[in-house]
């Protein structure tokens, strides 16, 4: 099972029936593939649709109907379109129940950084800053360490922040962590790892709560 599937399977279980959800591009889209039975979600794309379906069959794409990455979409019964002011009224106004974002860095205070590396990469924040401060539940999905093995879950982000103290959950292929006032609480680990391994790969301090850490077979 690859990283995408691991994160997708566990992450999808954070949703409750009827939620309005906005998934960032990249790894966050994995969650949509593993929604449990009985859970119906409304997906928003910030360029102006709710209730979209899969990519269209070849030859049936409408150049006016795309996702926030520019790829063709379909719309499902019950769906709707709207302009950008309405889209961000939803987001900033607290009407989006959950957003899932990829990150460059995230820290134990719930800070996240995902929109620029000064002097190297400046794609821009798009709607990420609004989503991070506006969604009721902000989930960060990430590889636990970067490609060279360095922790991405830090004591304090070094890159320019996307939002301050906004993340509620951090999910990697190894663990599920909750940002609390006390700090970052380790809630669950994957069956193929240990608390010690997770700690060694995490720069942030990990709190073990009185409830303990569950080993879950979501992988």
């Amino acid at each position: 099972m690859d990283l995408r599937e691991k994160v997708g399977r566990r992450g999808a279980r954070l949703f409750k029936d009827g939620m309005l959800v906005n998934l960032g591009i990249g790894m966050p889209t994995a969650l949509a593939d593993y929604i449990p039975e009985g859970i119906q979600l409304n997906f928003q794309t910030e360029n102006g649709a709710i209730g979209f379906g899969p990519a269209p069959e070849e030859g049936y794409d409408n150049p006016y109907l795309t996702n926030a990455g520019g790829s063709p979409l379909t719309i499902l019964p019950g769906g709707c379109y709207f302009d950008s002011a309405t889209s961000f009224a939803l987001i900033r106004g607290g009407h989006v129940d959950a957003t899932v974002l990829g990150v460059l860095e995230v820290d134990e205070k719930g800070n996240l950084a995902n929109y620029m590396v000064p002097g190297k990469l400046v794609p821009g924040m798009g709607g990420a800053m609004d989503l991070a401060i506006g969604a009721k539940m902000v989930v960060v999905v990430t590889e636990h360490c970067d490609k060279t093995g360095n922790p991405k879950i830090l004591k304090r982000c070094k890159l320019p922040l996307t939002a301050k103290e906004s993340v509620h959950w951090i999910l990697s292929e190894l663990a599920l962590m909750e940002v609390t006032k006390e700090g970052l609480v380790l809630r669950e680990i994957a069956p193929d790892t240990t608390i010690e391994e997770v700690r060694s790969k995490t720069e942030a301090d990990l709190i073990i709560s009185a409830d303990g850490v569950e080993t879950v077979k979501y992988y």
């Binding site: 360029n47 102006g48 302009d83 709607g127 609004d130 922040l161 301050k164």
Partner: protein
């Protein structure tokens, strides 16, 4: 009544140093015919207000490739690497705005609001130099209106009164931009005598000129 003109007539109105808004989201809902005419006219030192800089061959990105901007206000540049290159080289000034702040600033520019407080961007580079105010215990930034001399927008359907209707996610930034510029030009795929009053998204009274796609 909105006057139907050609894209070259539109481009001829634009002069060096003007500020333009261009509708669209990654060029979906962008006025491609008008962008092509602006490239032909080759007018320089423009300032752009747009969600993004499109793609090298689509939307406002075509003007980026032709080095027509001195400044860009946008939320995303990632789909057009040339924007980042010009920025790194010091050829282009870029002001990044959160997307929700950007559209709300455009809305404020069009509806007479002098500024608004938003929690988006607090604690980030976006907050630099901005007034911070605590409202109901939450830090908020004061954001200011954005206006332009021209708004170039795109609709699926127009009528001779200037009323516009969009399709699917082609709406995006277009409706608010129609309020926020001195001169509003809409490119349309189709033009009819009049449309169902219930179907109008952008009010004809806001639109000065219409351009047919490809004309």
């Amino acid at each position: 009544m909105a006057k139907v003109i050609t894209s070259d007539e539109v481009a001829a109105m634009v002069n060096k140093g003007d500020t333009i808004m261009v509708g669209g989201f990654l060029a979906v809902g962008s006025p491609e015919t008008i962008c092509d005419a602006l490239v032909r006219r080759n007018v320089k030192d423009l300032s752009l207000i747009c969600n993004d800089t499109g793609w090298p061959d689509r939307g406002a990105g075509k003007l980026i490739m032709n080095h027509q901007f001195k400044k860009v206000i946008a939320s995303h540049l990632g789909t057009n690497r040339e924007t980042g290159r010009q920025m790194s080289n010091g050829e282009l000034e870029v002001e990044l705005n959160p997307q929700g702040t950007l559209i709300e600033r455009i809305r404020a520019g069009g509806n007479g609001v002098g500024g608004f407080y938003t929690p988006t961007g607090v604690g980030t580079l976006v907050a630099e130099g901005k007034e911070i105010r605590i409202i109901n215990g939450r830090e908020m930034l004061l954001e200011t209106p954005l206006r332009a001399k021209f708004a170039f927008i795109k609709a699926f359907l127009g009528d001779k009164y200037g009323n516009l209707r969009y399709q699917a996610t082609g709406r995006n930034f277009n409706p608010e931009m129609a309020f926020a510029a001195d001169i509003v030009v809409a490119e349309v795929d189709n033009l009819v005598d009049f449309m169902d009053p219930e179907d109008v998204t952008t009010l004809g009274v806001l639109v000065d000129y219409l351009v047919r796609r490809g004309k």
